[in-house]
């Protein structure tokens, strides 16, 4: 394949649109494409569709939280029996919350983020014609697509989609009699997730193989851009942890359908009676789930960290501070990611000694995280900052990562977690540090690499509006939630009116819902900018619009399949020679001069 791609690149690399590539049919170019760039776009656009759906779901359930006493007739039109009388029913509320979580964590911030940028950037930044296995890469997308279709179809079954929370803890997720969402909806949920795991593994193996084996001449591991390092660790995390989740799901399928008792014991369900299952452990699932679940947080976060490092350095016109420390801290985070899963389980009756080990390891993560933050800040120090929309989102990422990371110190300390666990404090924490921050990383990546993806420019003004409204909105939505958590307000409550302890936040909930709607609208503005610019955006005239050093900007505007015309460029230096010896930037392909200073 790669040989063919070389020829292909030679012949058609200069072509702007690729219309004349006679052997590429519509089907092989846009649908079953094996070009990593097209697959990246497929991941991105599918991710965007899911982001809109997931965001819309959150707006709908925020409607219930903000206006529990009002009715909205359009809800009945939209949701049918799930919005009876213009009010979201508890069943629908829980289904929306669950699907919002599943979709955003897995489909948007894993597939949409890693799938897009690992596919797009790895070959372009390491200097390869394509992925190690373009065919596997294509399969990876189509498994994701199948997972999407199955998840979507679960919205339309009689008993509703799965509604037991994105973590799908049994026995609730195992017993259709305990919750209608755990019937057919849950079957589809598991099938969808299983397909998704396959997609992630196919992708991850490919990313690792490509980074290790297909680097161009001179591209040693310590000359890789930090994005690639981050994507590498992300892929390793995924490959090692997704199979564990998969095994957990298989046991769950057996418990649901074949009468086994891996997770079930001593259960009496109202209206059904005592179940025959004995001897299982409901907690076992949580160990299997969080063995993926925690690395998953970093699977979401690391690509964002990598891209932010890159964008901060480029737009500060300065080298990233502490390149080796950045790699080291990524490595430390990746290792620790596997050793902290039980901090999600401090209140499950865990052995206290085991709990204490997890406290120690969890808080240890704060050290590499602190290193990263301080290194980013030092990168800005005495730089010459250009506020491109990508740069704004990168700065926003750092701000959010600090805010959300610090509350991790509260929650990782088990004795304090006992109080705050499963309250709105947790919602605030993980939305800021994982959800919104990674989303910011993704936006930064899109704004930065859009010209490379489509050969067009996004509208800057819309980008600025998008950034300022989104960061202000994100803080307005999630910052006050810390206070709700400090009042002990539990997550996943449909209505707080019967609670003497939690009903004092009515006005605040209304405010949060309102802001979330505005923020959602602004995301639509971004999407409009994105799709409008693909077709009608200003054409890119400068091959290297950001004055960056990395290899992807040495490829032609709108590179064909194969990326470079002629030889793949050779690399002579690390990717952060910005401002060296008074020169604005020196591309990685420039040989080291005799009179150049050493760093």
């Amino acid at each position: 394949m790669s040989h063919e791609a070389v020829l292909h690149g030679d012949a058609h690399g200069h072509d702007d649109h690729g219309h004349h590539e006679h052997h590429d049919t519509f089907l092989t170019k846009y649908v079953f494409s094996q070009d990593h760039k097209m697959i990246a776009k497929q991941f991105l656009i599918t991710g965007m569709v899911w982001a809109v759906l997931g965001g819309l779901m959150s707006v709908l359930f925020r409607l219930q939280l903000g206006y529990p006493d009002s009715t909205f007739p359009f809800l009945e039109d939209l949701l049918g029996k799930w919005g009876k009388g213009g009010r979201i029913t508890p069943e629908a509320y829980y289904a929306l919350v669950t699907t919002h979580g599943t979709v955003l964590v897995f489909f948007v911030l894993t597939a949409g983020l890693s799938g897009t940028f690992a596919n797009f950037l790895i070959p372009l930044q390491v200097g390869a014609r394509d992925m190690a296995s373009p065919f596997m890469n294509m399969l990876s997308y189509w498994f994701f697509f199948a997972a999407s279709i199955v998840m979507l179809s679960s919205m339309f079954v009689e008993t509703g989609p799965f509604s037991g929370g994105w973590t799908a803890y049994p026995p609730l997720s195992a017993l259709g009699d305990a919750s209608p969402g755990s019937k057919t909806g849950m079957d589809l949920w598991i099938i969808s997730m299983a397909l998704f795991v396959v997609s992630s593994l196919l992708g991850g193996l490919n990313y690792i193989a490509t980074i290790l084996n297909m680097r161009t001449k001179g591209m040693s591991m310590t000359r890789l851009p930090l994005t690639i390092w981050a994507l590498f660790f992300t892929a390793v995390l995924g490959v090692l942890s997704f199979p564990v989740l998969f095994s957990g799901f298989i046991l769950l399928i057996f418990d649901r359908n074949f009468g086994t008792s891996f997770y079930l014991s001593d259960i009496f369900v109202n209206g059904v009676g005592a179940l025959p299952n004995e001897g299982g452990s409901a907690i076992l699932y949580q160990h299997l789930f969080w063995f993926l679940g925690h690395p998953e947080v970093y699977i979401i976060l690391l690509p964002a960290m990598g891209m932010v490092s890159e964008i901060l350095s480029i737009n500060s016109r300065k080298p990233i501070f502490g390149y080796m420390a950045m790699i080291g801290s990524l490595f430390a985070i990746a290792i620790l990611a596997f050793l902290v899963w039980a901090h999600h389980m401090f209140v499950t009756g865990l052995n206290p000694f085991l709990g204490s080990v997890f406290v120690l390891l969890t808080l240890l993560i704060a050290v590499p995280s602190a290193i990263k933050v301080f290194n980013w800040l030092t990168t800005l120090w005495r730089g010459n900052i250009r506020f491109t929309p990508a740069m704004l989102f990168a700065i926003g990422f750092v701000s959010l990562f600090i805010s959300g990371g610090l509350t991790g110190i509260w929650l990782g300390n088990s004795a304090l977690d006992i109080h705050l666990h499963d309250t709105y404090f947790v919602i605030a924490h993980f939305h800021i540090v994982m959800g919104v921050a990674s989303m910011f990383g993704m936006f930064a990546g899109i704004y930065h690499w859009f010209p490379k993806m489509y050969g067009k420019q996004l509208n800057n003004t819309l980008g600025y509006i998008h950034f300022w409204v989104t960061i202000a909105g994100a803080y307005l939505i999630f910052w006050p939630m810390h206070y709700e958590g400090l009042a002990g307000m539990p997550r996943r409550y449909y209505d707080f009116s019967i609670w003497e302890s939690f009903k004092q936040f009515g006005e605040l909930n209304k405010f949060i819902s309102l802001v979330s709607m505005i923020v959602f609208m602004v995301q639509l503005l971004f999407l409009f900018n994105f799709f409008y610019s693909i077709f009608k955006g200003r054409k890119l005239t400068n091959q290297n619009p950001w004055d960056a050093t990395t290899l992807e900007w040495t490829a032609p505007i709108n590179p064909g399949h194969g990326n470079w015309v002629g030889e793949i460029p050779e690399v002579h230096r690390w990717p952060y020679d910005y401002g060296k010896d008074g020169v604005d930037f020196i591309a990685q392909t420039t040989p080291v001069g005799a009179d150049e200073s050493q760093h």
């Binding site: 508890p90 602190a370 900052i385 250009r386 750092v398 300390n413 910052w479 997550r491 003497e500 605040l508």
Partner: protein, 347 residues
């Protein structure tokens, strides 16, 4: 109608924003890209400081507005909870300082080092000394927090004091069942297949004599002020969680695997009503683990009373055994109705 109006307005706003954005793009082409880029840079650099200042004011204002609605204003209602509170303040102090310092540095740097044609950037790629400083200092701060945290953790999860009373709490979709060991001070055995909603909600094994004096209640559970209590938690169906925000504790209730938690109530419910200035105050048990569609309504109530009151309440309770076997009740036929009355009262 309002629906369409709202959509129309939103679309209109969209169109206006888009036109402005498009126009600014043309203007930048006319003025020269470089000039307009520099102008944008200035605006965004300025907005960085504005955002920082507004953000910090916002943090303060948010605190003014919401502080009184949190539990921070109240004393923890358990002796152990007070430790959680002090830990919370220490953690807030440490993370608060870091938060303000790093956010200020971030946005001030962004403002201060915005593009300036006269500035020559410093090629500053690494410094072992600096990197060591910000590895070691966080490590030390975290060690302190871990030590405080683990001391509390081992206390909370350790053995309760010898004089602790024991109450069993069982979750079910969607409510709580409480069991006291009765006069003999020991719980009788139970087996989930004996569960019968009408007469044996916990599946007690009646052949076990220890079970025959066990007292079962629903909705409200009574605890004694100043007396440590150990709760033995379980669930009949899915995983629930006993969330006690006023006592600052919580623990999962898992089917098949008993878990425990213990604490010492500090104030009676009456005292809390006065302390919080809220005549409706209740110690609520909130279910804090997603347990199904009724999760949000799975409420229990703890009533903390003093010892005499507690003894008086307990004296009125009949063993659950007599609900299952009314004919064995020594206080004969009329007793039947009193048991029902007691249950009703507890509801």
């Amino acid at each position: 109608m309002t629906m369409f109006l709202t959509i129309a307005v939103v679309v209109l706003i969209f169109v206006v924003i888009f036109q402005i954005a498009k126009a600014s793009e043309y203007v930048s082409v006319l003025k020269g890209e470089e000039v307009s880029r520099k102008q944008n840079n200035k605006i965004n650099g300025f907005l960085m400081v504005v955002f920082l200042v507004l953000g910090l004011v916002g943090v303060w204002y948010c605190n003014e507005l919401l502080y009184d609605k949190t539990l921070l204003v109240q004393d923890a209602a358990s002796v152990e909870g007070a430790r959680v509170d002090s830990m919370l303040w220490v953690t807030l102090a440490v993370t608060g300082i870091v938060f303000i310092a790093t956010q200020v540095v971030l946005f001030v740097f962004a403002y201060k080092y915005q593009e300036d044609t006269n500035r020559k950037v410093v090629f500053f790629a690494h410094s072992t000394k600096l990197e060591l400083i910000w590895t070691v200092i966080p490590a030390i701060a975290l060690t302190v927090l871990v030590v405080i945290g683990l001391r509390n953790w081992f206390l909370f999860t350790g053995e309760p004091p010898k004089n602790a009373m024991v109450v069993e709490v069982t979750g079910k979709q969607f409510g709580w069942i409480y069991r006291y060991p009765g006069k003999d001070g020991s719980f009788g055995k139970k087996y989930y297949k004996n569960i019968d909603n009408a007469s044996n909600s916990l599946g007690l094994i009646w052949d076990d004599e220890l079970a025959q004096d066990d007292i079962v209640m629903e909705q409200t559970v009574y605890l004694v002020k100043g007396k440590p209590v150990k709760l033995v938690l379980g669930s009949r169906d899915v995983i629930h969680d006993v969330g006690l925000s006023h006592f600052r504790l919580k623990m999962d209730a898992v089917p098949g695997i008993p878990t425990t938690m213990w604490f010492t109530p500090k104030y009676t419910t009456k005292e809390m009503k006065e302390l919080t200035n809220n005549p409706n105050f209740q110690y609520e048990i909130s279910c804090d683990q997603m347990c199904g569609n009724g999760h949000y309504s799975m409420k229990g109530v703890i009533e903390v009373v003093d010892q005499e009151e507690f003894d008086a309440i307990m004296a009125k309770q009949k063993p659950y055994y007599y609900t299952a076997f009314p004919e064995k009740d020594p206080s004969a036929a009329p007793a039947d109705t009193t048991v029902v009355a007691a249950v009703v009262k507890n509801n």
